[in-house]
Structures are given as C-alpha cells and as structure tokens.
Symmetry: D2
Subunit: 373 residues, 4 copies
C-alpha cells in the first residue's frame, strides 16, 4: 500500500516535511511507502516551482479539491487555516497531520479535537521535538524513575529575530491570524515537551500564572521603504509563566523573540529527587544528565546505536541535525496511519496544550493565577 | 584612626567576614585600619574558641554590652536577631553592617531602615555578590548602554542541600526564626543583583507574581536518631516569581534548595536590545557577554588588571574565589565608615528588597499579581 | 546533461554519499543532475539489497565492467583498493572521487596523483570536513588576516571504539590492507584540515616528528567466540606528531581510537597574533572565535543565511548534522565535473597529505625529525 | 615551636607565599606556628615597603646574612639565584622551599638535589598545582585504578602575554638568567602534574621529542620609548613535546606565551582504559570526569566537605581561588618541617623534572628523540 499525501504549505514547514518524506525509504526501510501526490497553496506560480523542488506530482490551489485524492492531509499553513481544512479532512476520514499550535483559539482547537474523536482516521499534531533522540532518551529515564520525584521543570525557548524594531510585520504579528506570538509559536513546544517528559510522573499542569509582553508596538510592512506603512503588533513578543503540576512540582516557562544572542534555544531542565537533566536544541545531540550516585552533570552524546532512532543513521559521534526530528516524526505518524494504531501527540494533546496556553493568556489579562480545567 | 569592630555571629558568615578583615592590610593598603575587638555569641565555650581562631581580642555574650566599645557592629546572626541589635547600635551612632535578608518581616526591615535614616552612622547590608569583579564589570557595561534597552532579566539561585528528606530541621526551616526559606535566603541575593545591575536602566520592580512551595513538610531534629522528633517546615523550599520592571522589562526569578546537581548556582542573564550577558557564581571569574557587532557570547575571564578590584590580587587568569567578594565588600563598607560617605547597598536598599520579597509572598497567598508599593 | 555515477562500496561511506546524491535536487537546485547508475561490490546478495536501499539502478561485481557506463567513479572501498580502480578510471577519462586516505602507501598515492595529472577528468579526494560551514567560515577569517600571523595549530581527532581489547580484528587492523591505523584514518583528516585552514598563510608542513603506538597487540576475529582465533594488530591505535610549518608556525597533531569518552572528536585550534579559533566536530554548528578587540572566545552558531551553504538549509539555529558535509562536498565535486573546472582537494592534495603521513611514520621508526619533501 | 621564616623575593611569588603564611592560623589550626621573620631582596626601599605590606619584621639585602636567623628559607627569586642560596641553606641544615623550575640548568639542579640528600633539613620545590583539590582528587581516582591503564596524557599550559611584539624584554627573556622560557616556566608545571597524577601507574617519562620556538627574536627594554634599546630573546616563546612513559602510555605536552585568548590555561587530560578526566586551571574548582559505567564526562564541582582540603574552607559551591593552592602547599611543607617527615615534591622531584626539560631541549637541538636517563 502506498499512502497518497497532500500537503498544504510549501515554505519552511513544507520543505521540512517534504524532505522527511523523501528520506524515509533510504533510512527507514519499514516505513510506509508514500507518494508526494499534491502540494496545495494559493500562489500558482510559486506553488508550481515548489512542487518541482519538493517532488510533488500535482498541485492544487484549493484544499477542498485535494481531499478526495489523498490518504493523508498535512496542514502546514498559518494558524488561522488549521481548523477548517483539518476538520473537513477528518470528516472525510482522511488522516491529518497538523503543525503546531493546533489553532489560534481554544474554541477552534476544541472543534478540531472533537472532529478527531469522531473518525477512525489518524489526527496528529507535529510537535517534532518529541523526536529528538536525547528527548526520547530523557523520557525513558524519567519514566524509569531514574530522576525520582520531579520537583522542578524549567523550560525556555529563546530567539532574537524580532529584536530589531525594523523587522517587518507579518501574519505572525497579528492576533487574528496567528492567535498569539511567542506563546503559541514557541511556548506550545515547551508545554508539549514538559508534558511529554514528566506528564506520567508529575501529572498535568494544574494552574498557571502568565505574563505577556509586546516590546515593539508596531512594525513596517515593508522595511526597505523608509515611509512604509506600519501595522500594529497585536501579539506577544515574549511570555513567561509559572505553573503548578498536579503532583506539586513547580514549573517555569518562558519564550522570547527578543533574547539577543539566542537563535533557536529551546531548553528544558528537570530536577528530581534523585537526578536531573537538561537539554538545549542548539546542541541537540547532547543530554546533560545527573544520575544518582554521580557528582555532576554528564554531557552525554546521544548518538549510540541503541539510542532512539540512531541505528537508522550514522556511527557514534556523527551528529544529526534539526531536520532529522521530522524524519522520525513522519516515520511514526505514517506508520500509525498505515497500521491504524493510535498516534501521539494527538489532536487531544494539541488541545490540552492550547488549553494551557489559553490559561496563560487569561492569567495575564486577569492578573491572577488561573486553573487549567 | 583604627576602627573597633564587634561581630555578632561566629559561624559561616562570622568566618567569612573575619577573614576579610584580616586580609585587608596586605591587599588593600588604603583600607581603614581595623581592630577585631569583640566577638559576640551565646555559647561561651564555642565563642572563646572562635575568637581565638578568628583573631578577636574580646568576647561578649550580650550584644548590649558590646556596643559601647565599638565603632562598627557586624550583625551576622540569624534573621530574627537582625532588627533589635542593629537598631540599638544605630541609635548609639554605631555603624552597622547586617547580613541579608535585612529582616524576617517587612515591618522589621522598615524599622531598621527608619533607624538608619535617623543617624549619621553608616548602615549597610551585606549583599556580597555585588562585589564580584564580573558583576561590577557587567554593571558598567549596562550603565554605559552597551546592552541597549533591557528586555529580559532571568535570575536563578539553585542549591540542592535539602533534597534529602532526612536533612535536619534547623532555624532556617522555621518561618518565625528565618522569615522565609529559599525566598529570603537566596531570592534576596537575586533581587538585589537584578536591582544593582539594571535598576538605573530599567527602573524598579513594579509588580510581581509569586509561587512558593514546600516539598518536604517536616524534618527530623536529629537525623542520626531513627526515632527523632520531627518538626514542621514552615518556610518555602523553593520559590519562583515573574516580575515587571517600571520600564516594561520582564523578569523571571527562581530559587531552590531542591535543584539536584546545583551546589551554589547563582545565575543571572540579561538580554537587551543591543547585547546580552550572563553570569554564574560557580564560575565567578567569568562573564559571558554578547556585545553589539559580535555573533555569539564571549566567555570573558574578568581577571585583567583593569577589571574591578583585580589589580589588588593576581595576574590575569589567576582566579579568585567566593571569599574575595567579602574582602571587596568590607573594604568599601569600612571606607565609607571612615570617610563618612554614603554606602550602598544601604538599609534602604535592604528594605526595598524586603518589600519585593514580601510582595512575592503575598502574591503566592492571594494567587494574584501584587504591586510593590 | 545527467552524470551517470558508479559507486564502489556500499557500507558506511556508500550510504553517506548515496544520501548526499539523493538530497541534492531538493536543496541545491543548480547542482548537476545525477543518475545513481551502478553500485559495485563483491557480495552479490548484499549488493543487491544495498542498491535497492540506496537507489541504484544497476549493480556490478567487478569495477572493470562498470567504468564504460559511467561519467564519475566513486571509490569508497578499503584503502588497498583505492589505487588500481581509480587509476584505471582516470586512464579512461572517467572522473574519480576517492575516499581518504588516498592510498595505503605513499607510492600508490603518487601513482594516483600521476594518473590525475595525465587526464582532463576530475580527480577529487573526499575530505568532507572542509565542507562544514564553520570550517569554511574559519578559513575565510584566516585568509582575511583576522587572526594575524599564525603561531599555533593544534589538531586532535579522538575516538574510543577500540579501547575494549575484545573489539574484533578487521581490515582496519592490518597494515597490508589499511596502510596505517589512526594515522591514515583520522590523522589524514587533521592534516588536510590544517592545510586547508592555514596553508595560504603559514605555508606547507615542512618537517615532522612522529610517534605511533599500538596498545592492544592482537584481537579476536570473532569476539563472540571465547576461543576465537586472534590476529595481530599491525597498525597504530594512536599517533601524535609535532610539526613545523614553513612560516615557523608550530603544530601538534594527535589521533586515537583509545581516547575514552571521545566519540568522534575532531578538534582543531589555531592561535594567531591577532586572534584564535577552535572547532570540534561534535559541535559542528559552532565555532569558538576570539577576534581582535574582544576579550574572550565567542561561541558562534554558524547557522546564519550568509554563512557558507546555510542558505540552502534551515533558519538560524536550526542545526545541521554530519551528513550535510557530504551534500556540500558532492555538490562542489559534481559541479566541477560538469563545468570541467579544477576541484580541490585534488589527488595532488591527497598525495601531499600522504607524504606528511609517511614522514610521520618514518619519523617514528627512525626516532628523529623528518623533512617532508 | 614557632618556625622563623626567611623569604627571598617579594614580588608575585613573595606575595603569594606571604599571604599563605598569614592565612594558615585561621583555617589550618594544626599548622605550625610561623614567624614571618625576614624578607630578603636587593632594593632596600622597595624591600622595606614590601616587608611592611607582607608582614615581615626584618629585612636583609644579602641572603647570606639571613640564614643564621631562620628555620626555613623560601627561595622565590629568579631562576639563576635558585642554586647558591638554596645549597648554602641546606648546608646549614636550614630547610628550603624553592620555586620552580628548580634551576636554570640541569647541572645546577643536580647540585641542589645533592645538597638536599646531604642534610636532614627539608628541601621542597613549590609545585603548587599539586594542591588544587580537583588535582588531589584526580590523583586518588587514578591511584585507585578508576581510570584503568593509562593510555594518554595530554597537557598544555597556554598564556598570551607575550603575543604583543612590543612587550618588554625581562630576565625571563634571557637564557642566562631564566634557563629557558615557556619550557621551564610553564612546562615544568605540566611535567610535574603528569608525574604526580600518573607516575605511580604509568611510570616515569622514558624518552621525549621536543620542539622549541621563538616567535619574536628581540624585544625593547623600555616599551614606552620608541627608540628603546632592544635585546635578543634567547629563550623559547613556546615548546611542544611528545613523550613515552615507561608503561607505553603516550604523552603530548605544550606551552606557549603566544596562545591568544588563553590567560593561564593549565590543562591536563588523561585517558585510561576505564575512564578519563580533564582539568583546567581557569576553572580550578571543577574536574571533568568520565567514570566506568557512565556515558559522558561529568562536570564535578570539587567543593564538597570530603574533597581534599575543602573542609578547611567554605560550603559546597563556594569556590576557592588560585591562591588557596599556596595555603595548602605551605601547610604541607611546614608540617613536614615541623614533624621532620619527608616532603614531596622534593628537590629530587624537581631534579627529575629538570632532567625531562633538559631532554626536551636537547631533542629540539638534535632533532631526534632523546632518552631521559
């Protein structure tokens, strides 16, 4: 059986997933066969070029037209186009792989999760950082009790690409189009990672205190034009949050697009009663690990053959990159589709993350701690 | 003129300050001459031994008896004995150097700050980390505008000495005696450091959201006795806080005595529009610095002769230790006493820190953001 | 024009190059079109499977049969089969891309370089680490004079996969088959990297002092069999060398397969009169750089769009991996083949490296410094 | 009993040892009582000031005059005045503590070692880096067999204070006065450290290959004068060496005063069959340690109460500095003097180091490996 794939979106995420699909046969011989069938977008000319480059045989300018022809729909568009096409696909029992955050609003996310519950198709959300070998390894250690009871989770996702006040306005600057700023774009990753790593041990996030800040209030539409029209920035440039897990563990979360010197610094540290670990995406082949009986953090290269996914790649110390997380992710998602087995992170997971993001935003507005129902 | 010094407390802080006093003549030739006159404590035998070891000529078991004989009173006792002796000394125009936090409660701190305002004697609070050369250097860079506008302050003070549930109960476990736990002990340092570094640029901390947690609710009085009486832990094992500075800068603060793998990890990172810096006390001779025009953080050894205080010590790369901060601190404080010039951090600074700590605690209780008046 | 490629070798290097060939169209749109035409090996069954996996349309068990059908011959076999097939191909004006070291002996390497001189076909040696973006960036800085005059080159390539005395004997253990051990396998990379980075500024390596050591003298053929036959290890487990460059710069080189804790740690540090830099392959997206006017080494993420090759991949901070160096390398080599332009590193470069390796070995035997003619 | 101390030299080393002597009573209560009796130097005025600052009661401009009055003679002068006064003191049964290297020439060193053998007085050489807690801890681990058989020793001591060609000529630039440059000043430390750490396990250094280089051939006497007289630099700016230990372990050594970006970077790494460790003086409270059963190097803070010497100082994570090594060293040396017990490193150790340095120099001259007899 070959799965016919339709992909909405051909920029950054489109390329990342198309590359992953293209690489599966050489490195994951038991992956489902896939056909990069149709690439979906609005600008016909750009779309055509992208389809050539990314190896799709067809194009479509309306997602509605494509759903009939495909087994799996990848929704990689801007956040405000996540809900309708994904729900429509699921209603036709087409499996859906949707980029994060699930939706710009909690109500959209809930509608999407409802649609997923009503179908046998697979509905996955693309939290790719779950598929870093070091993260999978960390999860195993925590699940095995190697860290003991979890006391602290400390997650930050720092970038600096907006610190220049002349950086241009984009759909990401708009609450209507993006839902939120650093919170949904980066914070969603942190929240998912925390849930993935400690959820089984520390439970869910129970209540939150949030803080959102916009440092630059308006941005030029065309930064090369000195007299460019400016538009208001209606999303957060940075957020922070304190959280309490059900177990009593404390969490602190933060993300920023104004953290000068940090490019893609997705960091998480976890302290337990018996050990600790920390990870940074900028050094994604490494895990810093304090084990019981040791005196300090080990810097572990998670590149051994028995590390998660590593046997598919290269010998020890021959590091992999960011894009490899997409290969692992696509392998697992497509295998679930083929085998009709449940996939996690699911739309339900995406919706739970959205509920937490929403609580953080409400907390900021109301200046008080907010329970995550 | 020789300053006669009386010191209350002869354990950890007593040794740190006595050592500093003893080292001044060899390394700071223009420091005031001091006489380690009287050591004050309750246990006569231990006191006697300590006075011999630390080089004091007299001892006293009641601080009231000592004030007449001294020019400067060092209050290094537990937090609950900060207020009365310090106020009494100031009322007699004896200069006072008091360990942090200023007091267990805000009202005590305010009484102490009032007493300081009513005298020409010098009243200083011993926030020694201001005197790390790398911190002084960082402050200069920020004051010069090298980091631009400050967007983020991120401060953590992590230790792990209480993660063992059998670690014994002490005065530090009691709200009555200590005021708070990690918040007052460690958080006070972080708050002072943040104010010292960015206060001139980002203004004061305006409002806070706090979270306090006690992971182990009771501890044995005598851990070597299996049937030991236990007493309740009434202070926080860890705290976190989100803050807003007057300028709009965001701050996140955290401290813990349960952060497995961290021994004395007092860390601060600051991101500005033009640069960033970060510091960890465990590597106190280094500053990580991102300057405008550079692509990454430099690891700067702050050990050059023109670095703050370094010309008093050793050649470049010959690192100094934690205790040196006390030498610098005592040098500055005693010079202020001799020259009758204002000293910072003052009791007013200590009181401001206390006000912020108090707001964090109130925020935790009320589950809402609290303004720092 | 499509280039028909024949590849001898289908294990580690075969997979690395086949992957690179497969990835060119999506990421390097101006790369030559290539046809993975024929995979060459001896074990027909394994070869067939590999051809399927790696995307080759044909197989051949004798390289002689394949040369007629191809434009480019990739020689990725063990060192002792580098010379004959490569020379035969070049004599038929088939371009050759040969894995390093060029040959097990200097005389073979010289015959290969001679053959390359006698043809218009392109003869390249696959020193892939030249194609790490951070290395290309470092070379530019040095060529621009940013480091001033070069005083020190310090290169180490450390692995630990042979530290276990029961690790099995292989062709890599045999002087006849491999030529040398860590010296040819790892040292060749270090020498090439040093020449690439500082050759234009510090000149060639003039004379050397070498030290080779074999820590485990014989190894089992089958480590799972307690009574396994053992065979003698006739190559070095580790080597070190001191070198003098023509300019007077000093170099120290070292490699080991016994450096416990190092997986694939290919490190080089260069100190000049105005600056310094260092690089480790285990963190291949980073360059540590001390520039004139700075106080410490910056940790630079070499992942910006204007960094070498990075615009073909992902946004800043989205790190690439080891395999990407092969994509860059194949892009450059195949472009040279298509455009009939010279390619470096050439067989002449490979031969120069071999001459230095040979001098190191001779120096070890004669216990004296040896000039590199 | 109080030991009367006479110290020749009042600059850098004079201050370092005087400070150590002054600090003993407060922190090492069982140390011998010492009297800083006489400071010895030539410039009467500077000497007087130094004596005041460093706490000596007397001064002397001729060391011959002082020997009668003292129990212990500290020889901290330039290398060319190490031999005569030290030998004279030992002949009078005055114990001697001499700075490293033992002497500018091997024959001087041998005469000193002979003198030491002929007396019951204690003759120690001041290799202070043996007294870093992390180094003592490392030695214990190696002696316990935790690293298994030693395969590699890699030691570098890098500084950059001479990279400026206008840095002034000094006695350290002259072969007559200093004996050698980086080799004797820095290499002596590396060689001693290697012997201290692995000597019991890997045996002595058996044979060496050396390389010495002078990058700047002459230097101004007065760099502030544009027409300053220049004098020739007759010592090495940098050296490297390869060594073979008796056990077959390989060593590489290097030092430089031209390693731009390194201030006082005394680094050693040791790889054994079961583990590895590395240390850098710029982070002297840390040891990087790979233990059997672990996957990566741990960063261990060697600041726990049961770490060597640490119980005399501060709680975990409260780091000590470079100068503390002198306190430990003086404590041990003076205890040996008082108790009439052997002290290591002795003059015999100093002489062995000198023999190795001499072999490195001879190897450089003869361009061949040289045996260390």
């Amino acid at each position: 059986m070959t799965l016919d794939i339709g992909v909405l979106g051909y920029r950054f995420m489109g390329e990342a997933h198309a590359n992953a699909l293209a690489r599966l046969p050489m490195f994951f011989s038991d992956a489902p066969e896939v056909n990069r069938h149709v690439l979906i977008g609005r600008d016909e000319h750009a779309l055509k070029n992208a389809a050539d480059q990314l190896g799709f045989t067809h194009t479509a300018t309306a997602w509605e037209d494509a759903l009939d022809e495909i087994d799996v729909f990848y929704n990689l568009g801007p956040n405000h186009v996540h809900a309708e096409p994904s729900i429509a696909a699921l209603e036709q029992d087409v499996s859906v792989f949707c980029e994060k955050p699930l939706a710009p609003t909690l109500s959209d996310a809930e509608r999407m999760a409802d649609a997923a519950r009503g179908t046998d198709a697979i509905a996955g959300i693309a939290f790719n950082y779950r598929y870093v070998p070091a993260i999978q390894y960390a999860r195993e250690l925590i699940a095995n009790g190697d860290l003991g009871e979890i006391n602290h989770v400390r997650a930050r996702y720092l970038q600096d690409w907006l610190v220049d006040p002349d950086a241009p306005w984009s759909w990401r600057s708009s609450k209507d189009l993006a839902g939120s700023g650093s919170l949904g774009d980066l914070g969603a990753h942190s929240i998912d990672l925390a849930r993935f790593l400690v959820g089984d041990v520390a439970g869910e996030i129970d209540r939150v205190s949030g803080h959102l800040q916009t440092f630059v209030e308006e941005r030029p539409v065309d930064p090369d034009d000195d007299d460019s029209e400016t538009r208001p920035v209606t999303v957060d440039d940075a957020y922070s949050a304190q959280v309490a897990f059900e177990s009593g563990a404390m969490g602190t979360f933060e993300a920023s697009r104004f953290a000068t010197g940090h490019k893609n610094d997705n960091t998480i540290e976890i302290n337990g009663s018996k050990g600790s670990l920390r990870f940074s995406l900028e050094r994604l082949n490494e895990l810093e690990l304090l084990e019981s009986g040791n005196r300090g953090f080990q810097t572990v290269m998670v590149t051994d053959p028995d590390d998660p996914y590593v046997d598919h790649w290269w010998p020890p110390g021959h590091v992999i990159g960011w894009e490899h997380t997409f290969v692992h992710e696509n392998y697992e998602f497509l295998t679930s589709v083929r085998d009709e087995t449940p996939y996690e992170p699911s739309f339900a997971d995406g919706c739970t993350v959205q509920r937490i993001l929403d609580a953080i935003e409400q907390s900021d507005e109301r200046a008080e701690w907010v329970s995550v129902e």
